[in-house]
Each structure stands twice: as structure tokens, then as C-alpha cells.
Subunit: 341 residues, 2 copies
């Protein structure tokens, strides 16, 4: 793979010779790669991990692969003061959420880090955050790239997951009459972000919704044979449900009063609640559709996956999204960036 | 896959309702995704391409995968004035070169674009440059991510390639007595970059070495059963050969006079020639090792792959890199950044 050191630490003079000079093969001083090797794990399907021009992987016979990439930029997707551990966790969680929405089993990761001043403390924290999420899943870091940048810290995570030969969850299979459901709760991350923006310190549990979202990997796999369509809720429930409906060529009717609001939203007025829950983003829950006939199976499988969910509406043949119970609420405007005041 | 629009163009109010309001499912105005779909190609192994949470791919039965990622940052890896077409070409070429060094057949790409002001003209140029390299290889763009950034344009390309079940070229297999060879020529890209830095306009053919390197994909595949070790020359021949030797646990003796210098270096003094050829970087040639017994096969297979190469030295059991014929030349200092004056 191409896990390279930042350029500034890569300068290793190879000779000082005259005529025929023998010099030692030098190693870079700051061995970022060696540190990141702590995230390699011990997956026997990793034929060749960190340290070559590319990783070599052995997928299970006949399986399909799910592949995604997501980039986070300091000041855009996270406050620049975010702890490296939180950043690592979240960059990985955001991508795991994409694989979860396909019903895939996460297997291997590539990481591209663009940093200003890579140092040991930063990297150690980053590794700790990554490991917290990756280790229980058996996800192996198999390669990547590190670059010195004069700009904001930027990191791209690319994941590969495995799917059975014949199926995947997509955005495109919802049918009229299907029920629409969402896992977990909505609006918590957006509230935490809103509080940070005005200098408030969110409650620890609420801040965790923003910095340490739990990607619904087990739920995605549980839904693989049951759901007709699925998407992860990253841009706000309203926008993401719209993506799903567009891909499926259908519409929907959603009961606003049934939305599973995060408990911290209880004290807010209705307008604010719905702004956060429908337009806030960063929830990393799954929004999915299924025929009512399989509702009991969905309940059983998601219970086994320890994932709460709530039915919030149904799919309609007519295009468009009908909100029931808005009560004069004006529409959310989509996922709010950190830098949008 | 998670090919998302830049956030600023993603704001699509979903409702203006009161009680029960039906609104159309809106599409974003600036459809960057639709433009990038031009790069999807028509690979039947792409079960699901651009437009979902992840791409779904069907690798050939039993094959292994080679996976790599490389990030380019404006002002670090390329002058900010680089044409988008050149940038697309080069970002792809750099990654293809990594796959070439493994002997892999490139199959699928993910692209992460962090832009300041994405516009149609920029994207059209980018697509043209990408297509020039991707189309002849049948490489499909299957997904990615686009982000608005306040920092320098940053792009990450991730590639997946296929390998046969039982082999890959790595950096680690060189044996004492093996010959060391390099494809093409060295130093041309570094000379073009040096000229740009002092305000000179490189000759078109020389500039092409910098902006449009030819990744040695066919050569890598041809070497799969013959070479004992291989690396692509991206950081400078000296540094990259050192990487290979370190990975293989061996040393080398290299005849400086045998190095295939780019023809534009002919008029330079010896010190400058070697600075550029050994320390310059950006050549994207392959440096590889093979037992002398297979030399005729290597010559035949690389001739079929239309790839010139030259033997420049041999692997030694003793660690360290011995340069023959340096004649008082002082060592190169590794790949020079664009922003290093």
C-alpha cells in the first residue's frame, strides 16, 4: 500500500559518497507508519497490509464488496478543536454508517491523513479513538497515505465491506404501502453542535451523540433480507428520506409526532425540535422501509441486534413527501455545517 | 455509495407546510454527481455505482484485491494553477502507478474532491483529464464524496485492482544476485517542476512528464510472474530503491552511469542530473528486481508491454546502497515539494 510518511519527514539522504560509497539504509525519524500499524489487527484475509504500494486482500469466495469513502475537513465537518480521538472515531463512524446502510459487514479500511504538524501525541489520541470503534468490529486498517498540508486537517476514510452474493440494501427498492422506520433517536447531535456554536458545553451524553455516533452496523445486517430500501441519516432525516424516495421513485407520508426525538430535545419548542430532528443531520441512524408483513421479523431481528427503532410513516405511490402534524412548522434547510453561524 | 454534493448545494427545503403539506421531492441545483456519472463506464461487475451509500462490486471468483489511496493537495503536490484536467489525470496516474507496482489490473475508483468553488467549467475539465487515462483501462468511477473546503483543493483517489489468487508483486522479495532495473526514464518530471519554480516554461514533452505521467500498468502485469520485488518511483529513485531494499532485507550496488536519464537532462551538469534523477521524484516508473535467469523473459514480456527498461545494478546480501560512479556527487535529499523553494 501507499502508506507514506508526510513529505517533511521523508527526507533521508541516501549517500554522501565519492566514487563508491556504502551508506546505511536509513529509516525516517518520525515513524508514523509504525504507530498506525497498531490498527492493522490480525485478519488472515489481509494478505499484505501497511507498508507496500497497495494492500492485498482476499475477499470471501463469491462475495460482493461494498465500497465507500468520506472526507472530513476541519472547520467544515468538525470544530478544529475536536480531539484527535473523537475525530478518528467520527471519521470511521461516518463511513461505517454508509456500509451499515448497505447491510455490509465492514472488513478493511484505508486512511488518508492531511495534517499540519503531525506529532506523537496527536497520533496516539487518533489511534485510541479509531481503535475504540474498529476493534470490536474486527476492522483492519490496511493502508493509506499521509500528507503535510498548509490547510485545515483533512481526512478521508475508505472502507470495504462484504455482502452476500445476491443481496444488498439500497436506496432504491421502497414500494408503495411499505412502512418507513428509523433506528435510535433524531436531533441529538444537531443540538450538541448548536450548543457548541454558542459556547455552551453539551451534557456528556449529548456530546457523545455528536462526537461518538454509533453506526448501525448490526442493524443493517439484520435488515439485509427484510428491508426494501435503506439510507443512513447523515444530512438530516428530511433530506435523507427524500434521497431514498427519489431513488425508489415513490413518495411518503410521515407522522411528525411519531419521530423518535432525542430526549434532550424535550424542553425545546416544537419548531426547534423539528429543525433539529428533520434538518439537523449527523444522527447516523438508519432510515428504512419494509412491507408490513415482515414487521414482526423486523422487530425480532432488530431486537437481537439491540437496536431500537420506530415506524414513522408509509410509502406512497404518489411522488412527494407529506408531513403529518407539522402544525405551522416551517421547513428545515438541511444539514447545518459547523461553520454556518 | 456516498457520492454527495458539496454541502452548500445540498440545501433543499423539504416542506413549507402547515398541518399536511405535499411538496415535490427536490433535486439539488448543481448536479455535480450527474456530471461525474460520465466516468462510471459500463463495467458489468459494478452491481451498484454512483448514487447510493456505497458502491456494490462483484470481484472475479477467487481473485485477490489490491487497494490503495493517494491524496494530492494544491500547493503541496501540484501548483495551484494546475489545470483541472492535469490534476485529474495525475491524481489517477499516481494511484494507478501504485497498483502497477503490485502487478494488479485496475478495476474501480472512488474519488473524494474537496473544492472551494465547484463550477461546471472546472468539473468538465476534470472529467476530460480523468477520462483520458481511465477509459483505455476500463476503470470505472463507482463513487466518492465531494466537500466544500476553505483550504487548498484536496483530492483523494482510492483504487481497487484485481490480482490472481496466488501472486502479487511486493517490495519484499528481492534476493542477493537479482538484477535491479527501472522502466522508462528518470528526472524529467523533476526538471519540469524545477523550471516551473523559477518561472520557466518547460518544453511540452517535458511538462507532460510532470503533468501526464504514464503509469506502468501493463509492465506491472507483465512482471507479475517474473520480478521478485517491485516499487513505483514516486519519491525519487534513490529513496524508492531504499524502500525496496529495506523491505527485502538486502542491499544493492547501482551503476550511476547506467541510469536512464530523461533526454532533457543531457545538457545539465552531472550533479544536477543526479539530483533530478535520484532525488527528484514524480517519475512513476517501476523499479524492480529479477533473477538473471529470467532476463530474456523480462525483455520479451516488457517489449510486448511496450515498456522500455534498463538494468542498473544488482542486489547484494549486505545491507546498504552502494552507488558506483558518483564522482564526488553529493546525495539527493529526496522528493522536493512544489512549495519547497
Amino acid at each position: 500500500m501507499s502508506m507514506e510518511l508526510p513529505e517533511r519527514s521523508r527526507r533521508s539522504p541516501t549517500s554522501g559518497g565519492d566514487g563508491a560509497s556504502r551508506v546505511p539504509v536509513l529509516l525516517p525519524e518520525f515513524d508514523l507508519i509504525e504507530k498506525l500499524r497498531a490498527l492493522e489487527g490480525s485478519d488472515p484475509a489481509v494478505v499484505l497490509g501497511i507498508g507496500d504500494d497497495a494492500a492485498v486482500l482476499q475477499p470471501a469466495p463469491e462475495c460482493r464488496l461494498a465500497s465507500c469513502i468520506d472526507t472530513l475537513v476541519a472547520g467544515v465537518h468538525f470544530p478544529p478543536a475536536t480531539k484527535p480521538a473523537d475525530l478518528a472515531y467520527k471519521a470511521l463512524a461516518v463511513n461505517l454508517s454508509d456500509l451499515a446502510a448497505m447491510g455490509a459487514q465492514p472488513r478493511w479500511a484505508l486512511l488518508s491523513l492531511s495534517l499540519n504538524q503531525p506529532d506523537h501525541v496527536w497520533v496516539e489520541s487518533f489511534i485510541a479513538g479509531w481503535r475504540e470503534l474498529a476493534e470490536p468490529l474486527g476492522l483492519a486498517l490496511v493502508g493509506g497515505d499521509t500528507t503535510a498540508t498548509p490547510g485545515p486537517v483533512t481526512l478521508s476514510v475508505q472502507l470495504l465491506g462484504e455482502l452476500p452474493p445476491d443481496r444488498a440494501l439500497t436506496r432504491g427498492g421502497a414500494k408503495p404501502g411499505d412502512l418507513i422506520a428509523v433506528t435510535g433517536t433524531l436531533g441529538g447531535a444537531a443540538l450538541a453542535l448548536a450548543q457548541l456554536k454558542v459556547g455552551q458545553a453539551p451534557e456528556p451524553a449529548l456530546l457523545r451523540r455528536l462526537n461518538r455516533p454509533s453506526p448501525r452496523v448490526a442493524a443493517g445486517r439484520a435488515l439485509l433480507a427484510l428491508a426494501t430500501a435503506c439510507i443512513d441519516v447523515s444530512d438530516g432525516f428530511g433530506a435523507d428520506l427524500n434521497h431514498l424516495l427519489t431513488a425508489s421513485g415513490v413518495g411518503a407520508r410521515v407522522a411528525v409526532t411519531d419521530l423518535p426525538l432525542h430526549s434532550s430535545l424535550a424542553s425545546l419548542d416544537r419548531q426547534r425540535q423539528l429543525d433539529l430532528a428533520l434538518g439537523g443531520g449527523d444522527d447516523y441512524e438508519l432510515c428504512f422501509c419494509f412491507p408490513s408483513e415482515v414487521r414482526e421479523s423486523v422487530e425480532r431481528r432488530l431486537s437481537e441486534a439491540q437496536t431500537p427503532f420506530r415506524v414513522v410513516g408509509e410509502v406512497t405511490a404518489e411522488a412527494g413527501l407529506e408531513w403529518i402534524g407539522l402544525d405551522g412548522w416551517s421547513a428545515p434547510t438541511g444539514y447545518a455545517h459547523f461553520d454556518d453561524a
